[in-house]
């Protein structure tokens, strides 16, 4: 917090501008934050910023701490060298395979079809063949239990350097799960959710075998949609069978030719696909950068469509609540201010934030204390916090009526499986407290505590952690390609399951490990995990951070949401 205090005058100045010179919502502050980010690459809003809150109409009620510590130069150089060496060896081995010096494991085209146009370009698979294959064992690890706080992994070995895997028949028991998106711990095989799902399975079976518009609209689907609308605080909602398809099949119903889609550069593949399928013009703004977004909005309205210069039919802004690879939280208050000023529509994808953020688990809107009516399209998934599958869209009644009659999913895709629906209904009621217990609320609280604790500890240990201090998605930087595999393996050796990601999911030098904190993690589990991470971190020299944080011993283990109630 020392840094934030030091920056306070600047913040105040930024706000003065918006109070004096410009109209409210004119984003004097927005500009200021941008410059600030450029200079420091670190967002800090002092906690005691009554002044700030007053002058920009209460944009941020909570401190907004988001950090992306810059990559140390030496690390960047070494990372590039690593890729360089890997590429050189890749070419060498491709050459040896070509001349049959090295045995080639790649599946081959059928002899009958050798004279067809090749199905893949040779360079297309260079990366897969020569880089991914070396560390392939860090992904797709099969599990054979509930993906809860701990899980069991199926042991597998490879005798040919990851080209094929053999299952030994043994099970690696009780691995601490830091990888699954089980934010609220509803991935369970016992308890009310599982019981309810079992009842429904017995009654309904698992399939539906028809679409919503034809003969697949079950009473449970209707119940679910009413509940989702109530949960989100919107007029109406609709549920779909797959989270990915919720984006890719509904955005085309909302935008079309002559519309403009403004999309965050780090948006998920499903949003990108949906935007592309819609046939609209797509422009990309810098990640969570409000100045970049405002510039695009201004230019779009002033200049109109390219070539014809006709005004755009409508402008749709696509953002996510929590970005799953960065751990950052969208600057929603500012996005809403911009959207209102420029009369654009806002599509908010809460895949990771619903259930995981906000004092009552209602997602990023709840987190910032905003009105859900200010977001035109509230989208989210049931896969993560609710431990089920599928996605939803919520909003005004006209929007949902239109989707019910025009969504690709409603017309052509099989509706949701009844037990999955039941899992969502039960877990959602639990979060809302409608089951008469405080289990749901406690879990939301627990997740917030766990998140703060885990993030703080990692930072104290000297790792570079990306993202917002309240985000349960915790990316930890590894940078070098060799460390991706090494970290994944060393952690598994010590019975911790982690997710590691590299290019192309991240920028080429920013390979990282990603932890997903869950409410189901006990403090002991987190401590075990933290100790192991520290140990492996020392072993692999991962403690890159140069912004040393001094451990605050006197700071109590406090609940995050209460500290700002006053």
């Amino acid at each position: 917090m020392t840094e934030s205090a030091a920056n306070k005058p600047e913040n105040g100045e930024g706000c003065y501008r918006s109070a004096n010179g410009l109209k409210p919502g004119q984003n004097g502050c927005v500009k200021h934050h941008y410059l600030y980010q450029q200079r420091q690459k670190k967002y800090c809003y002092p906690e005691d910023q009554v002044h700030h809150v007053a002058c920009n109409g209460g944009m941020y009620k909570r401190p907004f701490n988001e950090s992306f510590e810059e990559t140390p130069m030496i690390v960047a150089v070494l990372t590039y060298m690593g890729y360089g060496i890997l590429t050189l060896f890749g070419y060498l081995r491709d050459f040896m395979r070509e001349w049959k010096i090295e045995k080639c494991h790649i599946a081959r085209e059928r002899d009958e079809q050798k004279d067809f146009v090749p199905l893949y370009q040779d360079f297309e698979n260079f990366y897969t063949r020569n880089l991914y294959m070396r560390i392939r064992d860090s992904w797709n690890r099969p599990i054979c239990s509930v993906p809860g706080a701990k899980f069991d992994l199926v042991e597998r070995v490879s005798h040919d350097y990851n080209w094929t895997f053999k299952y030994t028949g043994k099970v690696v028991k009780d691995v601490i799960n830091m990888g699954s998106y089980n934010y609220l711990g509803f991935a369970e095989n016992t308890g009310i959710c599982a019981d309810a799902a079992a009842d429904v399975t017995t009654k309904y079976g698992v399939g539906v075998a028809s679409t919503r518009q034809e003969m697949g609209n079950l009473d449970r689907h209707e119940d679910l949609e009413k509940l989702v609308a109530k949960f989100l605080g919107v007029e109406s909602a609709m549920a779909f069978g797959m989270g990915f398809a919720t984006n890719s099949m509904n955005i085309p119903a909302l935008a079309g030719k002559g519309c403009l889609i403004l999309s965050d550069e780090l948006n998920h593949a499903s949003l990108v696909l949906g935007a592309r399928l819609s046939g609209s013009t797509i422009r990309v703004f810098k990640h969570n950068n409000m100045q970049s977004l405002e510039k695009l909005l201004r230019d779009a309205i002033v200049h109109g469509q390219p070539r014809t210069h006709r005004p755009w039919k409508k402008i749709l802004i696509l953002v996510e609540g929590i970005y799953s690879m960065e751990g950052s939280i969208v600057r929603l208050p500012e996005v809403i201010a911009l959207k209102k000023k420029y009369k654009a529509y806002l599509y908010l994808d809460e895949a990771h934030s619903i259930g995981a953020l906000g004092p009552s688990g209602r997602g990023v809107v709840d987190y910032f204390g905003l009105d859900p009516k200010d977001v035109d399209i509230m989208m989210g998934t049931f896969t993560k916090s609710f431990g089920a599958a599928g996605g939803y869209i919520g909003g005004r009644k006209e929007l949902i009526d239109y989707l019910r009659s025009h969504s690709h999913s409603a017309v052509y895709a099989t509706s949701m499986s009844p037990p999955v629906v039941e899992q969502i209904i039960t877990s959602m009621k639990c979060i809302m407290g409608e089951d008469g217990t405080t289990i749901g609320r406690d879990r939301v609280q627990q997740l917030a505590e766990n998140t703060t604790y885990f993030r703080r500890k990692l930072q104290e240990m000297g790792f570079i952690i990306y993202g917002n201090s309240d985000s349960p998605v915790v990316p930890m930087m590894l940078y070098m390609p060799a460390k991706i595999g090494a970290f994944g393996r060393e952690m598994l050796k010590r019975n911790i399951g982690v997710v590691v990601v590299g290019f192309p999911a991240t920028p080429i030098i920013e390979s990282r490990a990603r932890f997903c904190v869950s409410a189901a993690h006990t403090k002991e589990m987190l401590d075990t995990a933290l100790n192991v991470i520290s140990e492996v971190g020392d072993l692999l020299q991962l403690k890159y951070s140069r912004h040393g944080l001094i451990p605050l011993l006197d700071r109590p283990f406090e609940t995050t949401y209460e500290e700002n109630e006053d």
Binding site: V117, N189, C193, A197, G205, Y412
Partner: protein, 472 residues
């Protein structure tokens, strides 16, 4: 000669010293001017459209976007859904009325099969419901691997890959292979998920008339001539034929042997969508390849969903490892989506068991289809569209009343008439504006093994009655 040149140089330097100051300054300015001319742009691009800030503000103030969505009228035909209370199985309760189900694609009656339910329940007790992750990040369960293995064995292919959503299967598979610049030959009657997959691939599309092999060959020949003009481009342009086994929109079967012949003649790969034919056609339910006795290795990729005959959720692709494995990193719906809930995979696996144990079920289904097909012939005003062995076929108006809207209304009246008399039917629904080739409005009839002969007769006679009363 050399000394001469030297002399000139000396002279130049001398002249330089002797020249008056104003001369030197002038020449200096001239040189600078030339440099400036060389390096400056001759015209400015945006000079004309420079707006002042005030003008910009005005423009922004002025701009009024269209509403997010156009209003939907209250009686839009697809706004008010039927509500099914209870399981959508053989006996179904639609809007409070108990009916016999002729609308759900539950061909083999596996939806409320006790064995399937028990396996699903057992899986639920072991794994819970959700997977909380994509396949890459701890979303791969042992059940998924087993199901993939079983599907590959069932179809007798090298490898299978499962998706968590039927629609996303072929829609993700096509763009994994076919990219910008590639050419796809596709049947006009191809279902919507194929169309979306093709759109996502951004390939060059060539539509041939539904099931018309001559038309396809004509297009292939055209392409061959085109290729000879530009052989370098032709060497890297992949080409595919995308067809359905049994067509969702017409109930027809594709002429697979002819397609395979064309495949080798013109060196085009075949992608086959078998959502309706998997678990229906062929002696063992392996689909249209088995139906025609075509070697399955001749088909490059087969995709099907597990939401119809299998009565679970999700879809799969199968084929040779060389082809299928590529989707594990390139299939968007596979990589970026949460994996299939294990209980649904377990249910699908049990359904496969039942299909393997009792292949007679396919014979029973085929006989019932033929029976129903025959019973529905000769209704005045309605014609049956689709193969006699297809469990999902269409009833189309013999003569259109002129407008699509009026046709839809007539067919709706027929559906309502039957629904009031305990036969649940549905119209085939489409997004009129989104379909590339909008099929005519129809009522879809679905035959399942659970329907008794009496029920088939009853349904047929009711439809006949309805047609007589409504179409006159």
């Amino acid at each position: 000669m050399a000394s001469g040149q030297q002399w000139v140089l000396v002279e130049m330097v001398q002249a330089f010293y002797e020249a008056p100051a104003y001369h030197l300054i002038l020449e200096g300015i001239l040189i600078l001017w030339i440099i400036r001319l060389l390096f400056s742009k001759t015209y400015k691009l945006q000079e004309r459209s420079d707006l002042t800030d005030k003008e910009k503000e005005e423009l922004i103030e002025e701009w009024q976007p269209e509403p997010l969505v156009p209003p939907v009228s209250k009686d839009h035909p697809s706004l008010n859904y039927n509500i099914v209370s209870g399981p959508p199985s053989h006996k179904i309760t639609v809007n409070g009325k108990e009916c016999i189900n002729f609308a759900s694609f539950n061909f083999l009656g596996l939806l409320d099969n006790e064995r399937v339910k028990n396996k699903a329940l057992a899986s639920l007790t072991k794994y819970g419901v959700g997977t909380c992750g994509p396949r890459g990040f701890y979303g791969t369960f042992d059940v998924h691997l087993e199901l993939e293995d079983r599907l590959a064995k069932f179809m007798r292919t090298e490898e299978a890959i499962i998706y968590s959503y039927g629609f996303a299967t072929i829609a993700s598979a096509i763009p994994a292979y076919s990219k910008r610049g590639d050419i796809v030959f596709v049947d006009e009657a191809a279902c919507f998920s194929i169309q979306k997959g093709l759109q996502a691939s951004r390939s060059f599309l060539k539509y041939f008339k539904h099931n018309d092999m001559e038309d396809l060959e004509r297009l292939l020949k055209e392409q061959e001539i085109e290729d000879q003009k530009n052989p370098r481009k032709a060497r890297v342009t992949r080409r595919f034929i995308v067809v359905e086994g049994l067509y969702m929109n017409t109930g027809d079967v594709c002429p697979l042997p002819d397609l395979v012949r064309l495949k080798y003649k013109y060196k085009v790969r075949i992608f086959l969508e078998e959502s309706l034919s998997f678990g229906v056609l062929g002696e063992h339910g392996r689909g249209v390849t088995e139906h025609f006795g075509v070697n399955i290795d001749d088909i490059d990729l087969i995709s099907a969903n597990m939401e119809n005959a299998v009565a679970s959720i999700g879809g799969f692709c199968c084929g040779r490892s060389f082809v299928i494995d590529h989707q594990r990193l390139s299939g968007q719906g596979y990589c970026f989506s949460a994996s299939l809930p294990p209980m649904l995979a377990a249910a699908a696996m049990e359904a496969l068991n039942i299909m393997e144990e009792d292949p007679d079920i396919f014979v029973v289904l085929r006989n019932k289809c033929k029976h129903m097909h025959k019973a529905l012939q000769g209704i005045s005003g309605l014609k049956v569209v689709g193969e006699s062995f297809s469990p999902a076929f269409h009833l189309q108006l013999e003569k259109s009343s002129g407008s699509r809207e009026a046709d839809v209304k007539l067919l709706r009246a027929i559906v309502d008439y039957c629904m009031d008399r305990k036969i649940a039917l549905t119209q085939a629904r489409y997004l009129d504006k989104e379909e590339r080739f909008l099929p005519p409005p129809t009522v879809r009839v679905v035959v399942t093994v659970e329907q008794t002969e009496d029920e088939l007769e009853l349904a047929a006679s009711l439809i006949k009655e309805a047609a007589q009363t409504i179409l006159k």
